[in-house]
Symmetry: C2
Subunit: 270 residues, 2 copies
C-alpha cells in the first residue's frame, strides 16, 4: 500500500502511518498541496494528513484541500504528541544555540524556550527534516524538536523530553482517499456547507440534525472572503446510523447553498 | 491614554493603536498574557489585541485570556495586513541569507519564500522586533518581514512588497478594557458558552437567537480537554438592538452550563 505524508520519515505523519498500516510504502511530500494531489491523481492509495490539534484548533486550509481535490476522509486518528529535543550524541542543552522545527511544534513548546531566551528558534518544513539535517551534516550547537521515532532513525540523543506547553497536546489526523469508501460501522461525518447570511438559517440546519439525533462534535464558521454575505461551515457530525444522516441531508437542502460531504468514517475520539 | 500592545513600536498592534487613538502612551508587552494582565490590573486603560485573521482563523488562546482575566472587548478593528521585506539600506534580495519575523507572518508569506529555498526563516516574538534588531546591530544578510511603519521607524529599505500569499489578508483586532463600557450604538456581542453534549442543544440556542433576529457572524466549537462531554463555543452575534440580546440571553439560560459575555461593541466589519 502506498501512503502519502507531509514530511519525511520520522515525522508525526510517519508515526501515525506506522500505527495504522503495516509496511506502508511512503511517498514523502513537502507540502499538503502535494499530498492532496497525490491522492486525487491516484499516485498513492491513501494519505495521512493532520487536520487540527487541541491547542491551535483546526488546520482550515486542509479542509479546503480535501474539498477542492474532491478526495474523501475515510478514517481519523488522534495522536498524543510528545515533542523531544534532540541533538548529536554528546551535546548538552548548554551547547545549543539554535533549535529547528516545524512552526507548529515551535509554537507548542514556546513556554519551554522562554527559559532559554538566547536560543534562536528556526522554522523548517517538518520536524523530522530538522533532525535529519543535524544528523547528515553533523551540526553541533543545533537541536531539533521532533518525535522519538526521528531521534532513533537519525541517531540523535534526546536532551530534553516532553517540551510541549500543555500535557494534553493531541493532534487529529485523517486518512484521505480518492473514493469515499466507508466502513460498515461508520458513525461520523465531516461536512462543509454554505448558507446565506440570514438570521436563524444555521439554527434551522442544526435543528434538523438534532431531530435525527445527530450530534455536532465540531463546528467552525469560515468567512468566505470573496462573498461577504455567504458563510461557510465545517462540521463534524456524530451519527447513530447512516439512514438518519441521509434523511437529514435531504432535509437541509433548502437551507444550504452548497453542501459537500468530506467523508463518512468511524469515530476514533473518546 | 495608556494602551498595552503585544510587541514593540512598529508592530501591527502599534499601527492599529495609532489608527484608533491619537497620542497613546504605549506599554510594550512581550506576550498576550502580559497584555491581558496589564488591563486586568489597571496598569493601562486599554489594550489592542489581535484575535484572528482571514487565513489562519481565530487566535483561540486570546479568547481564553479575555475570559480568565475578566476583561472585556469594547471595540473591534479590521486591518488589511501588507507584509514588507526590509533590510539595511543598500542590501538587495540576493544578499539575504536569513529572514526573521513572527511565526504568523512567516506562515502568511510561505509561498513567496518557496521561490527562495536557500533563505533561512527565523522566528521572533514580533515583526517589529526583527526590524529593530537589524537596525540596532547593523546586520547585513538579514531581512525582516514587518509593516511599513517598522521600515520607517527603524530606517530600513523595503526590498520586496506585499509578500503575503493571499491578497485579502485581514487581521481582526479588538480593544479590551477592565470594564464592559459599551457605546450607545453597540450592535455586536462576543460570547463564550458551554453546553452539554446533547444532540440539539446548540440548535435550541441558535433558534432562540434567530427568533430575536440575532445573526451569528462567527461560531467556533472548542473541545474542553478536561471535560470530554462538555463543549465550549465562541460566537460573535450581530444585534439589531440590545434589548433583543438581553431577552435571548435570559432564554438560553436553561441550555447553557456557563455563559460569559466577552464584550458588547460596535460592528466594524463590512
Amino acid at each position: 500500500m502506498k501512503v502519502a505524508i507531509q514530511g519525511i520519515k520520522g515525522s508525526y505523519h510517519h508515526q501515525v502511518t506506522n500505527l495504522l498500516y503495516e509496511k506502508a510504502d511512503l511517498l514523502e511530500c513537502s507540502t499538503f498541496d502535494q499530498v492532496a494531489q497525490a491522492v486525487a491523481s491516484g499516485v498513492v492509495d491513501k494519505a495521512v494528513m493532520a487536520i487540527g490539534n487541541s491547542i491551535a484548533g483546526s488546520i482550515l486550509p486542509n479542509y479546503t484541500l480535501i474539498r477542492q481535490n474532491q478526495i474523501y476522509i475515510t478514517a481519523e486518528y488522534y495522536l498524543d504528541i510528545s515533542h523531544q529535543l534532540m541533538a548529536l550524541p554528546g551535546q548538552k542543552i548548554e551547547d545549543i544555540k539554535e533549535v529547528q522545527s516545524h512552526p507548529m511544534a515551535l509554537l507548542q513548546c514556546r513556554n519551554y524556550f522562554q527559559g532559554y531566551p538566547e536560543v534562536k528558534l528556526v522554522e523548517t518544513n517538518d520536524t523530522a527534516a530538522a533532525a535529519y539535517r543535524i544528523h547528515r551534516d553533523g551540526k553541533k550547537g543545533v537541536a531539533a524538536i521532533a518525535s522519538d521515532t526521528a531521534a532513533q532513525l537519525y541517531e540523535l540523543d534526546i536532551i530534553a523530553s516532553d517540551l510541549q506547553d500543555v500535557a494534553n497536546n493531541s493532534t487529529r489526523f485523517v486518512v484521505v482517499e480518492r473514493e469515499p469508501n466507508y466502513v460498515d460501522d461508520a458513525n461520523k461525518a465531516t461536512i462543509n456547507f454554505t448558507t446565506s447570511h440570514e438570521p436563524g438559517t444555521l439554527a434551522r440546519i442544526l435543528t434538523i440534525f438534532g431531530a435525527q439525533r445527530i450530534n455536532l462534535s465540531k463546528i467552525q464558521s469560515i468567512p468566505v472572503i470573496e462573498k461577504p454575505f455567504v458563510f461557510s461551515f465545517v462540521a463534524d457530525l456524530e451519527l447513530e446510523d447512516l439512514e438518519q444522516f441521509l434523511k437529514a441531508k435531504q432535509q437541509i437542502r433548502p437551507y444550504v447553498e452548497q453542501l459537500d460531504i468530506l467523508g463518512i468514517y468511524k469515530n476514533a475520539s473518546l
